[in-house]
């Protein structure tokens, strides 16, 4: 019985949260990696673009709520996401037309692109804060839990409860669907393949008649979908605050680079690598050992490898280590 308790404990506090957080990171990381692979720059506006998409979603959610439309047990935000995506894509295309296009035609070095994306970051941040304000917003409605900790205890008679939030299930489910669709698109359709070709070798791709304008357009569309859904899921699960989104850019970058930048599948896995290592290293295992070990060997301390304050630092350290020893990432991405 103790052993089952220990497993449930780990599931409840490590596995499910990490899987959720990892999915959210993975969506952002694929966004970063696509922009990097095809448009060839590190997009420092990632976090703020995600917050823009989420903001649009929230505004539509409020609109639907005021109309009295709801999805019952599911959050209304799901209905608003498609509209949020449209706004996000329009915003991205606008930015691309007025800002990035010029530098693409100039064939500027990536550093210059990165600088420009910082300008975009400032502007987006301002736009989001002016429209919706810097405060914390919760826009979740519908049923909160699928399994409640107390009910689970009563049901199974175990000491440890397992709580399963509907947002967690939603996040994981949507991520799986979205990512499978994306990989199907990239590997099976003609446009997807030409995107890959363009990413591998621009000149060759142009020679074989691939239209760069279309590639760029499609990239921004996919990026808009990923950014909005990733951002909205994060906001549903936790809460929406522009500053947190800006900060999330850092683990997202870490995930993209750890997975091998330019490689969408690597970025997808990178998100989970970062999320799991963050949570595994900062979790206090005391209770776990109390269940597993005999009473005489129970630990006195919290058995926590690092204090939770260093959660972010963990992912950054992983990134630094990967950058030094395997700059192309765990799953071969673009070699530096």
């Amino acid at each position: 019985m103790d052993f089952v308790n220990a497993i449930i404990l780990l599931l409840n506090y490590i596995f499910i949260p990490a899987l959720t957080y990892g999915s959210q990171l993975a969506l952002g990381a694929i966004f970063v990696t696509l922009i990097y692979g095809i448009l060839r720059f590190a997009n420092f506006a990632t976090g703020d673009m995600m917050s823009f998409g989420t903001m649009a979603t929230i505004l539509f959610t409020w609109y639907f709520q005021s109309l009295g439309v709801s999805l019952g047990v599911l959050p209304t935000a799901l209905l608003a996401i498609p509209f949020g995506i449209i706004f996000m894509i329009l915003y991205m295309l606008l930015i691309d037309k007025f800002v990035f296009k010029y530098y693409r035609h100039q064939k500027s070095p990536p550093v210059q692109f990165a600088m420009v994306s910082i300008g975009v970051m400032f502007v987006t941040q301002a736009v989001v804060r002016i429209i919706i304000g810097p405060g914390d917003r919760r826009f979740f409605d519908g049923e909160k839990f699928i399994i409640k900790a107390r009910e689970f205890k009563e049901m199974t008679g175990l000491n440890e409860g397992l709580a399963l939030k509907s947002t967690q299930v939603l996040t994981i489910f949507v991520t799986i669907v979205l990512v499978s669709l994306l990989f199907w698109f990239l590997n099976r359709t003609k446009t997807g393949k030409s995107m890959k070709a363009y990413s591998d070798n621009e000149d060759l791709a142009l020679l074989s008649g691939i239209d760069p304008k279309k590639i760029v357009l499609v990239t921004w569309v996919i990026a808009g979908i990923l950014a909005t859904i990733g951002g909205a899921l994060y906001g549903l699960d936790k809460s929406f605050k522009p500053f947190t989104y800006f900060n999330n850019m850092l683990p997202i970058f870490a995930a993209a680079i750890v997975g091998g930048i330019g490689n969408p599948f690597g970025a997808f896995l990178g998100g989970y690598v970062i999320a799991f290592s963050e949570i595994l290293l900062t979790y206090a295992y005391k209770k776990f050992f109390m269940y597993v070990l005999p009473e005489s060997m129970e630990p006195n301390s919290l058995v926590q490898l690092l204090s939770t304050d260093y959660k972010f630092a963990v992912s950054f350290s992983i990134l630094v280590i990967v950058l030094i020893y395997r700059p192309s990432g765990i799953f071969k991405g673009k070699v530096l």
Partner: protein
Amino acid sequence: MVGIFQSWNIALSIFNLCLISAVMTMGANIQWGYAGLINFGIMGYTALGGLAAVLISVDPVQEAWRAGGFDILMSLWLIVVMVLVIRFILKRFEKSKIRTYSIAAIIISGILLIRFSAEPGIEAIEAVDPAKTGFLGGFGLPIIFSWIVGALFAGGLAFIVGKVALGLRADYLAIATLLISEIVIAIIKHEDWLTRGVKNVIGLKRPAPYEVDLQTTDWFIKLVEKFNAGKLSVIENLADRQAALNQLVIEGSSVFVKLCYSGLFLVVVIILLILTQKALYSPWGRMMRAIRDNEEAANAMGKNVVKQHLLIFILGSAIVGVAGAMLVTQDGLFTPGSYRPMRYTFLIWVMVIVGGSGNNFGAILGGFVVWFLWIEAAPISLFLINFFTAGIPETNALKAHLIESVPYFRFLLMGLGLLFIMRYRPKGILPEKIEIK
């Protein structure tokens, strides 16, 4: 200008921060403009400079040292031993998998060992009067020294970062430095025994006199009286005149203190300007430009690119460290929670780009212009909003919302400014000038 419209006090505090920003910008400019190294870790070096100010100027907390000093020294000793062992292994053995793994094992076991040996000490230190101290304190020296120590701290960190990350391509270097600076901030925020963490350190010593002391000093009151003789003589009533004088003395004292700071900061800026200008036009500066413009050619000419990159990375970061110490000196408090990448990394980069990379005067100009706009963006945009919506009644929801979100227009202004400069004047307001003699 602000002095006339708002008050001299505000004008001077903006001016002081402009000077500090100018120093930071010069540091970043050395790295980016001279050598083409991109450093997004400015925040980390600024915070280290601030930490230096705390460690130098605060009086040592005897009790805390007694409680946990030994454990901390022990851990420091362990770290030194660990580094020496790793160096020894690196030197003695050929590169192999076993070597890599054994180094990793040493690091991990070392960290665990340090954690276990330091934990009781840290807890003991943090338990010492946590509302007031709860940390080791510093050396109790005048805070001015911290400007040099801040440079050393930042330079030391830059040495480590440079060794690790300088081989990376430019945009990876940017990300790596950004993340490393976040790690530094995380450590400063949460290692309470060293920095008091988010509990902040307040009431640091000052290199300038205190306002309260000034207000009771005779020569200062006389000075204020002399300056305002014309204004005071208009007031007939003696009591009124005395009251007016008192008011003026209070205002004057804070202006005077700020002037003291401005003087100190100006000295730093001028010294740095002279040094950097000399360096720019020296053979060393020419070499740096050669390396920036064509690394391979410079390498072929026998210049050690790696070493020079490391050197300039350390120098630039050290200057940023000085600025960080200056900032804490002027504020008189150290608040680890306030170090945010927006303000301390990206804003400085806007300054560098707007001012003109590679040009020291451009860096200073960028520091001044951008900081001024950053502060004054809110009043300016408030004015503009009021101006354009003059016809709309006060109760209009849109107008009220806009006025409420006035503080965020500064981000918009900075972003648009950066984008426009990048597009139409990519070399900045004052572009780099290379004199060919």
